[in-house]
């Protein structure tokens, strides 16, 4: 009796986590602010860790606790730390995020993605215990698609990076339920890969900002011709480089 109540409590807590996870995924599409985007990503990672712990308690697999701990250390702590170290305050000071589509349209498309995720994961659900069917697999898939969508429509570097990381979160959210016994080394490798990616993109964004004064990826539409000169305010020949002359040129 008590075992079944514990199971059902864990399952219902896990579905609560799933609901909040979906909410953060939508909110990341809806938010306009870089800092808000980062905070939502942190919340999403915490929810992922919570789900890993709950599933670990349910299936008695220490492996999932390990996933939870790695997630807890890397995403909510190390990612913001690295971003804060590599980027300047100006990136966060911007309130408005440049976007290809406006936010209400984006939200409707996000909704279509969520429905699509539910359709897509229908066949996978046979592999899942009935009490966990509602949460992890479809919602994680939806978060993955929404992350990819964020990556596609945003034109700012940092939210795009967070989109990639949100995709990874979504994939893990599915993975902790579907592939519970994956070797632990894979989780560690993915987590460290993610951190290195954040580091590299962070430095890249810093360079871009140093060069252009903004982090708008959408404006990086022209290639500079000629030799790869070191970054300097003026090119060697003294003429004005094309992207300096007209940064918006396509």
């Amino acid at each position: 009796m008590s075992a079944t109540t514990v199971t059902s409590t864990l399952a219902s807590l896990n579905s609560l986590v799933g609901g909040l996870f979906l909410l953060t995924a939508f909110a990341m599409v809806a938010t306009r602010q870089t800092r808000g985007c980062l905070q939502l990503f942190i919340a999403q990672s915490l929810l992922l860790a919570a789900s890993a712990f709950l599933l670990g308690a349910e299936y008695h697999t220490p492996h999932l606790y390990g996933v939870g701990i790695v997630d807890l250390i890397s995403k909510p702590i190390l990612v913001p730390w690295i971003l804060n170290r590599t980027l300047t305050r100006e990136v966060y000071a911007k309130r408005e995020i440049d976007q290809v589509l406006n936010i209400p349209t984006s939200l409707l498309i996000a909704l279509a993605f969520a429905v699509f995720a539910y359709f897509l994961t229908r066949p996978l659900l046979d592999a899942v215990a009935p009490q966990f069917r509602g949460a992890n697999v479809p919602i994680g898939f939806a978060a993955l698609l929404l992350g990819a969508y964020t990556l596609a429509v945003r034109r700012e570097a940092v939210p795009m990076l967070l989109g990639i990381l949100a995709m990874e979160n979504g994939a893990f959210f599915v993975g902790i339920l579907l592939a519970r016994d994956l070797p632990f080394i894979i989780e560690l490798a993915v987590a460290s890969d993610g951190l290195i990616m954040v580091f590299v993109v962070g430095i890249l964004v810093r360079k871009i900002q140093h060069r252009l004064g903004s982090t708008r990826i959408g404006e990086l539409a022209t290639l500079r011709e000629g030799s790869a000169s070191p970054p300097s305010p003026l090119p060697h020949d003294g003429s004005i480089a094309p992207e300096r002359q007209n940064p918006k040129a396509v």
């Binding site: 059902s8 409590t9 399952a11 219902s12 807590l13 579905s15 609560l16 799933g18 609901g19 909040l20 979906l22 909410l23 939508f26 909110a27 809806a30 936010i103 209400p104 939200l107 409707l108 996000a110 909704l111 969520a114 429905v115 539910y118 359709f119 229908r122 659900l125 009935p130 009490q131 069917r133 509602g134 949460a135 479809p138 919602i139």
Partner: protein
């Protein structure tokens, strides 16, 4: 039978008499959190008392609509009170007159009359506020409808008492993603419909920036008092629907005696106080949105409640 009539009357009295207090506590807490002292929590009662003793001035250009509006605005929340669980978790005898869609309609009737009343006078700010309220309302409408659809889908009914009993059934139902998303969507809806801060500033005094407030600018004396009181009651009624039907379906009277019903009052007051604290935090930490950003705010609410519906729809 007599007991049910008494319980119903008590329910109406609680909403009628405690709604100014709710507004007073909200204002006071908001001022305290912004490190000011703020007016007494009884200030709304004093305002109402003062307004009821003042003369009423009516524009000679206004029609009967303008005079009827305060009464409609005042009476519609009272009608709604008869339909929703405020103190008891068993249905009182008018409960099956209308469901949650009916609640929405009755509240919308008050809003409709307030809009007509605002357009009726020559004041230029009235029609402006009225058209803005309509904008917010028609963006909020789909959210309302989808919330009701989802609720009826989950609970098999839209009668508030049955919905409330359904959430209280088990922890698995209560913690399901559908329920969580529904609560989030309805909270955003309360902020929009109650004219709270990310959508509208209830304490603003700049006519050009007003949304909800400017509709009652032309009223004075008794009319102004009734409009104000109706507004307070509407907020409390929305809070009761949110708390007693969706979020915390516990702590209501289940006994059939009058003392049990009276004992539910402190529990409900406690729940309302917690919701007020949440509102105060939201109002103090967010800024008012620009008018054309409201569509994004309510778009987010819409997406949330549709997501609630699809999580329920695809539940295996």
């Amino acid at each position: 039978m007599l007991l049910r009539i008494l319980a119903n009357a008590l329910q109406v009295l609680v909403v009628l008499l405690l709604s100014p207090l709710v507004a007073g506590v909200l204002d006071r807490l908001k001022e305290i959190i912004q490190s000011k002292r703020g007016p007494s929590v009884l200030q709304p009662y004093r305002d109402l008392w003062k307004l009821f003793h003042k003369d009423e001035v009516l524009s000679d250009r206004s029609s009967w609509l303008f005079r009827a509006t305060p009464y409609v605005v005042f009476v519609t929340p009272i009608f709604v009170t008869l339909l929703i669980p405020v103190l008891t978790n068993y249905p009182l005898f008018l409960a099956f007159m209308a469901d949650m869609v009916g609640v929405g309609f009755v509240l919308a009737l008050g809003g409709f009359f307030a809009t007509l009343g605002a357009v009726d006078t020559g004041n230029p700010y009235g029609p402006m506020g009225a058209s803005r309220t309509r904008m917010v309302a028609f963006l909020a409408e789909p959210v309302f409808v989808i919330v009701f659809f989802t609720v009826s889908f989950v609970a098999g009914s839209t009668i508030p008492y049955i919905v409330q009993a359904h959430w209280a059934l088990s922890a698995a139902i209560f913690l399901s993603p559908t329920h969580v998303l529904l609560m989030a969507a309805f909270f955003l809806l309360i902020l929009a419909e109650g004219g709270r801060i990310p959508v509208d500033s209830p304490t603003g005094h700049v006519e050009l920036a007003m949304i909800d407030e400017s509709k009652s600018l032309e009223y004075s004396g008794t009319g102004a008092a009734l409009m104000k009181w109706g507004g307070y009651m509407k907020l409390l009624v929305l809070m009761c629907v949110f708390l007693n039907v969706l979020v915390t379906p516990w702590g209501l009277a289940s006994g059939q005696t009058l003392s049990a019903v009276a004992l539910a009052i402190p529990f409900v007051a406690l729940k309302v106080l917690i919701l007020i604290l949440a509102l105060v935090v939201v109002e103090s930490s967010l800024a008012k949105l620009r008018l054309f950003r409201i569509s994004e705010f309510l778009g987010a609410a819409f997406v949330t409640c549709v997501a609630a519906m699809i999580t329920q729809l695809f539940k295996v």
